[in-house]
Each structure stands twice: as structure tokens, then as C-alpha cells.
């Protein structure tokens, strides 16, 4: 494998030498950038433009020239609601249900995630034995694929599963978790926290370890109580990292799809249908394929994500400067 790659890479040298002769100075850089820019152009920038074009055109034709211009009709359809808090009052109730689900999902998921990750990072930051081992214990699920995560928990939560056996041991009734709207939602949040908390713990731990020791030494000198030390030193100094973690978790939380889709399929009913699943089903899984509607929903999502990413870059930069 490496030999084949190596052979071709040496072959590229011949045209590159010619190119070098014609290009002056540092312009050769463009040759190196070329493949990457083509890929970015085709699969990132062109799609963004097309997305807008599709969002403003109607019919279920795939080809752009077969589609008719409908102005803001798709956006109007998406936002046609008499009461935004009640999905049933909307023209596209499923869209709003998915928006509500996603909002509730990220509020719960990000809140719990940041809390649990913080506690875990604080504990890992104590003087403990085998810290490297414990760090990787919490990190391990991050590597698992979303489908595997979903199946692991589905197996535990099935009717005759481990969880129900545990409940029966405690003298409680068995629950058919996946058929109950609230339980299915709660477990979706849980498994998503389970799968990703290791990642945020890692970042918070790095933030904790960056706090200089002598600040704590000074606090010990002044005989500060542990809780006071935490509130007055650890938390303020960790705040920049916390902000980054929160925004990162939000960006990823809004885009949650894989594990929840494989876990519940969006059900029961539409109880766990999130926004990406709505886009996927509107554009690809249903018939007719409503590309315009899916694109319009994507653009709304893109705006939210762009704002969040902007925040992330700002916080990260401030961290790097500070």
C-alpha cells in the first residue's frame, strides 16, 4: 500500500518540476492547494449556494432547471404557525415538533453533559492513582460508533433486558421503555451523554491542569476552605474552558442524529424526532422527496450553527490569547 502510494507520489514530481519552472516564487503553493480547493469548492461552497437555490424553488424535481422559483414559499411553509409553542397549530407540525424536541434535547443534554463532565474532570484532577487509566475509562464510549451505542442500550433496555431485570429485583414493575414517549426521550438524552461525556471531560481536565498550582498553594496558605477554593479559584479560572465546552456541546447537540435515530427511529410517534432526522426524512426518505423544504430547513439550521461556531472561535481565540 505505502509502496504504491510512494511510487505515484514520485511520479507526480515530473509534472511538478515543469510547473515549478513556469510559476514564479511562492505561487507554486497554489498547485499544492489545488486538490483541496477543488474538493472544498465542490463539496462545501457549491452546496451552500445550491442549498439557497433549492430552498427558493419548488416541485419535487431533482434538477435545478426543472424546478420553479417559488420565492420564500418553503420558508413561509416552515414558519406558518399560529402558536410557535404548539406544534399542532403549525402547517408543518412535524418540523416544529422536531424543533421542540431538539431544543429540549440540547437543553437537557448540554446541561447534564457539562455538569457530569465537570464533576468527572474534577475527580480525575484529584491526586488519584492510575489517572491515565480512569481517564480512558470515561473516554472509551467516545470511540464507539453511534449505531453500536444505540444497539448496546437497546439491548439493555429491551423488554427482557438487564434494566427490567434490575427493576424486578427492586420489586418494581417492568417497563417497556421504548414504547413510552418520555422514557424514550429520556434514554436518548442519557445515551448521548454516555457516549460523548468523555470528550468534554478530556477538554475540561486539560483546562483544570492548566490552572497554575501556586494559586492553590496561596489559597492553602490563607487556609481557604475547599468549597471556597472551588468557587473563588477553580470555577472562575475554568470559565473560559467551560464556555468552549458548552458551545461545542451545543454545536454537536443541535446536529444529533445518528445515535438517536438508530436507537428509537424517531419514535414512538415523533417523540424523539430531531431536526436532522426531519431534514433527512423530508429530503431523502419520504416520497415525494421535498428537496426545497429540506434545503430551507437546512438553511435555518445552518444560520444557528454559524452563529454558534462564531461564538466558539471567539471563545477559543480568547482562550489562546489569555
Amino acid at each position: 500500500m505505502i509502496r504504491i502510494v510512494s511510487f505515484f507520489m514520485d511520479l507526480i514530481d515530473i509534472p511538478m518540476r515543469h510547473a515549478q519552472r513556469y510559476l514564479r516564487g511562492h505561487s507554486i503553493a497554489w498547485v499544492f492547494l489545488f486538490p483541496n480547493l477543488v474538493l472544498f469548492g465542490l463539496f462545501a461552497f457549491l452546496p451552500i449556494l445550491l442549498n439557497v437555490a433549492y430552498a427558493f424553488t419548488g416541485t419535487d424535481n431533482i434538477m435545478l432547471w426543472d424546478r420553479t422559483y417559488v420565492a420564500g414559499e418553503n420558508f413561509a411553509a416552515l414558519t406558518a404557525c399560529s402558536n410557535y409553542l404548539d406544534a399542532n397549530s403549525c402547517e408543518l407540525d412535524l418540523f416544529w415538533r422536531s424543533v421542540h424536541n431538539t431544543l429540549l434535547f440540547i437543553v437537557l443534554q448540554v446541561g447534564i453533559m457539562v455538569g457530569v463532565s465537570l464533576v468527572t474532570a474534577l475527580i480525575l484532577n484529584r491526586r488519584i492513582r492510575a489517572r491515565g487509566f480512569f481517564r480512558s475509562v470515561f473516554f472509551f464510549p467516545v470511540l464507539l460508533s453511534p449505531v453500536v451505542v444505540a444497539l448496546i442500550w437497546k439491548w439493555i433496555l429491551q423488554r427482557n433486558g438487564l434494566m427490567n431485570a434490575g427493576l424486578e429485583q427492586l420489586g418494581l414493575e417492568r417497563v417497556v421503555w421504548m414504547l413510552d414517549r418520555n422514557w424514550a426521550f429520556a434514554w436518548s438524552v442519557f445515551l448521548s451523554v454516555w457516549a460523548h461525556m468523555g470528550f468534554y471531560t478530556l477538554i475540561l481536565l486539560a483546562g483544570l491542569q492548566a490552572i497554575p498550582r501556586d494559586v492553590y498553594d496561596a489559597a492553602t496558605m490563607d487556609a481557604a476552605k475547599p468549597f471556597r477554593t472551588f468557587y473563588r479559584i477553580t470555577l472562575p479560572l475554568l470559565m473560559p474552558t467551560m464556555l468552549v465546552v458548552m458551545v461545542l456541546a451545543l454545536i454537536k447537540g443541535v446536529q444529533t442524529f445518528d445515535e438517536v435515530y438508530a436507537f428509537t427511529g424517531g419514535g414512538p410517534g415523533s417523540a424523539t424526532t430531531l431536526i436532522i432526522q426531519y431534514i433527512y426524512e423530508t429530503g431523502f426518505a419520504g416520497a415525494p422527496r421535498l428537496f426545497g423544504l429540506a434545503s430551507a430547513a437546512s438553511i435555518i439550521l445552518a444560520l444557528v450553527l454559524a452563529a454558534l461556531t462564531f461564538l466558539q472561535l471567539k471563545f477559543t481565540r480568547r482562550n489562546a490569547d489569555g
Binding site: A29, L42, S145, V148, K154, W155, G161, T309
Partner: protein, 350 residues
């Protein structure tokens, strides 16, 4: 034992265990259970027979009924120990079960059927690993095909990504050309366009390029990542320019400088990026779900997901397949977890 406890409870520096130390270790123990437990349970379950999987409450170890082959019966018969009634204490083989009675035979008299109540017998079981869950994957399902698809996509996409991204990173790190700032801004721009928000047009571009429903349609659209450029560029900036200038003195071409000097020197960063790329590709789900429609082309993740719809009752195959899907990742984790941790911490995920 006492030594082990002593080892675990020893604290660094302090003499005595504070209650917070107890809390710490309790938390960590709970963490091990919660993080590894489900995976261990999955692996254990994947070795169980269908009958054992249906059992409630479930048991930890995979048991299977012991069977015996007797003359005159085509199938092996399950063995039971009789606990009460006439035959109490004897070992019998069950021929068939009708309602609440069970027709059994003694092992030494296989043609003499005796009827006993279901409550009078207990199955004789032993720990046995149901390897047929795994072998079925190869005989009944096209497991190797999915495995090959996943492997092909992962390997090829990772190689392409490393080459393309390292070329761009090299250009951005080592040349001062007009437009560099613009290109950097562009890369950040791409960072702001996650795949999830351009699904429809991405689908159409891929379709127009004739790559839809082929493995290339999964490989190419994600072949260049802004994360990769940032990671590699950051590392390449630390390579001193003097080395490049020395090579230029020796009439090395710019391509040779990239391929023979800068790339080998960036090996640590390349390794981190390679591990990340392998993980992303192996676990990728949403884009393959859209780009691939024939089940011949399915990756392992897609196959798992589509089978769980079809095989709600066939947990035995599903569990075995899940284990095989997570196996490569578990191996990577076991050997390379240090790199992964640093890689992820420095790139902020995807």
C-alpha cells in the same frame, strides 16, 4: 488482598483517607461499571443461544442446555435432572413437551417414554459459548461484504485525506503567497459548514458526478477536512525553514521537499490525524445512509442499522455483528488511546 486494598486506598502525600477520597473512588468505580459494563454485557450476550437470550431474568454467563444424542432420535435431546416424583434424582432426556407434561426417556432405555410434570424437572446446563452466532454471520449474511466496504472506505478515504490535506497544509505553512489569508479564511468558512446542513445539495452534486450509490460517493465528498489542514499546518509551522532552504540549495524540487522532507518530519501529526480519520470514517453513518442505497454497498454501520429493523427478534446475530463492528475500535483504543486523547484534545473533535 489486604495489600491490594492498601494499594488502592493509599493517597499521595496525605496520610489518612478523607471522606472525599472515598467519594472519589466510589465515583470512579461507578464510572468503570457504567462505561465498560454495557459493553461487557453486550459481548457476554453475543455468546448466548437464542433460548438463553429470551430468558428472563437474564444471567451474566452464557449457559446452554446440555444435550445428548440417543439412538432413534434425529436431533440431540436436552438433558434434565428430575427433582421430584418417581424418577427423582435421575438424569433423563426430553423427547418433546406437551402442555404441562414433558415426555422423557432414560438414557439407558431410549425407547421407553415416561411422562413427568414440568415442575418435576430441572434443565442441566453448562457454560457454553454459542459460536454459531458468529459463524452464522458469514454463512447467512453477507458480513464479509459489509466489512470489506467499511474497510475500503476507511482506508482509501484516510489516505486521500492525508495526502490532500497535508499538501494544503504544506502550502499554507511554508509559502508566503498573495491570497494566503484568503485561503485561511476559506478554510475557517468550511469549518462553519458542517455536512449536516448541506445534505440535499451534497446529494445532488454527488449524483451529478455519477458517484451516488458507490463507495466513491462516500469517500470523495468528505476527503478534505478543515480540521486536518489546521492540525497539520500547526505542526508544519514548527519545522524550521532552514531545512527547506538547504534542500533547495541541493536542487530539490518543491514537490520533493514536500514529499521527502516535510511530510516525514510531520509524522506525529500525520499519525494523530490518521487515527482520527479512521475513527470518523469507520463510525460514519448519516452520509453513507444517504449516499448508499443498494445493500451490496452498505457499510457495517448501515448494515447494523438496517438489520435491527428486520431482525427485532434475531438478537443473536445482531449482537454478534455489533461486537465485530466495535472490535476494530476497541483494538485501536487499547493500543493507541494516548494519541487519540491528545489528537481530540488538540482539534476539538471534528
Amino acid at each position: 488482598m489486604a495489600k491490594a486494598i492498601d494499594f488502592l486506598t493509599r493517597t499521595r502525600g496525605h496520610g489518612k483517607l478523607h471522606w472525599t477520597d472515598w467519594f472519589t473512588y466510589a465515583y470512579l468505580l461507578f464510572g468503570i461499571l457504567l462505561m465498560f459494563g454495557p459493553v461487557v454485557w453486550l459481548v457476554m450476550s453475543s455468546f448466548k443461544t437464542d433460548a438463553e437470550l429470551d430468558r428472563f431474568p437474564p444471567r451474566f454467563l452464557p449457559y446452554a442446555a446440555q444435550t445428548v444424542e440417543l439412538e432413534g432420535y434425529s436431533k440431540p435431546l436436552p438433558l434434565y435432572k428430575v427433582v421430584s416424583g418417581e424418577l427423582a434424582g435421575e438424569t433423563v432426556a426430553q423427547v418433546r413437551r406437551i402442555g404441562l407434561t414433558s415426555q422423557v426417556v432414560r438414557l439407558d432405555a431410549p425407547d421407553q417414554i415416561v411422562k413427568i410434570g414440568l415442575k418435576d424437572r430441572e434443565p442441566i446446563e453448562r457454560i457454553s459459548i454459542a459460536t454459531e452466532n458468529y459463524t452464522n454471520l458469514f454463512s447467512k449474511f453477507d458480513f464479509l461484504r459489509f466489512f470489506w466496504n467499511s474497510t475500503f472506505i476507511t482506508v482509501v478515504a484516510t489516505v486521500i485525506m492525508l495526502i490532500v490535506n497535508s499538501m494544503a497544509a504544506f502550502a499554507l505553512a511554508k509559502y508566503k503567497f498573495s491570497g494566503r489569508a484568503a485561503v485561511m479564511a476559506m478554510v475557517i468558512g468550511v469549518l462553519m459548514i458542517p455536512q449536516t446542513v448541506v445534505l440535499v445539495p451534497l446529494f445532488i452534486v454527488t449524483k451529478e458526478l455519477g458517484m451516488l450509490d458507490s463507495l466513491w460517493g462516500v469517500i470523495v465528498p468528505g476527503a478534505a477536512t478543515p480540521t486536518g489542514i489546521f492540525l497539520l499546518r500547526q505542526y508544519m509551522l514548527t519545522i524550521p525553514d532552514e531545512i527547506l532552504d538547504a534542500a533547495r540549495m541541493d536542487k530539490a524540487s518543491e514537490w520533493k521537499i514536500y514529499w521527502r522532507i516535510v511530510l516525514p518530519l510531520s509524522a506525529p501529526a500525520i499519525a494523530v490525524l490518521a487515527i482520527l480519520a479512521i475513527m470518523w470514517r469507520w463510525n460514519d453513518f448519516l452520509w453513507p445512509l444517504i449516499a448508499l442505497s443498494r445493500s451490496d454497498n452498505f457499510t457495517l454501520q448501515l448494515a447494523l442499522n438496517s438489520f435491527q429493523g428486520e431482525m427485532t427478534t434475531q438478537w443473536s446475530s445482531l449482537l454478534a455483528m455489533t461486537v465485530l463492528t466495535l472490535l476494530p475500535v476497541a483494538l485501536v483504543f487499547a493500543f493507541l488511546q494516548k494519541y487519540i486523547a491528545t489528537g481530540i484534545a488538540s482539534t476539538g473533535g471534528k
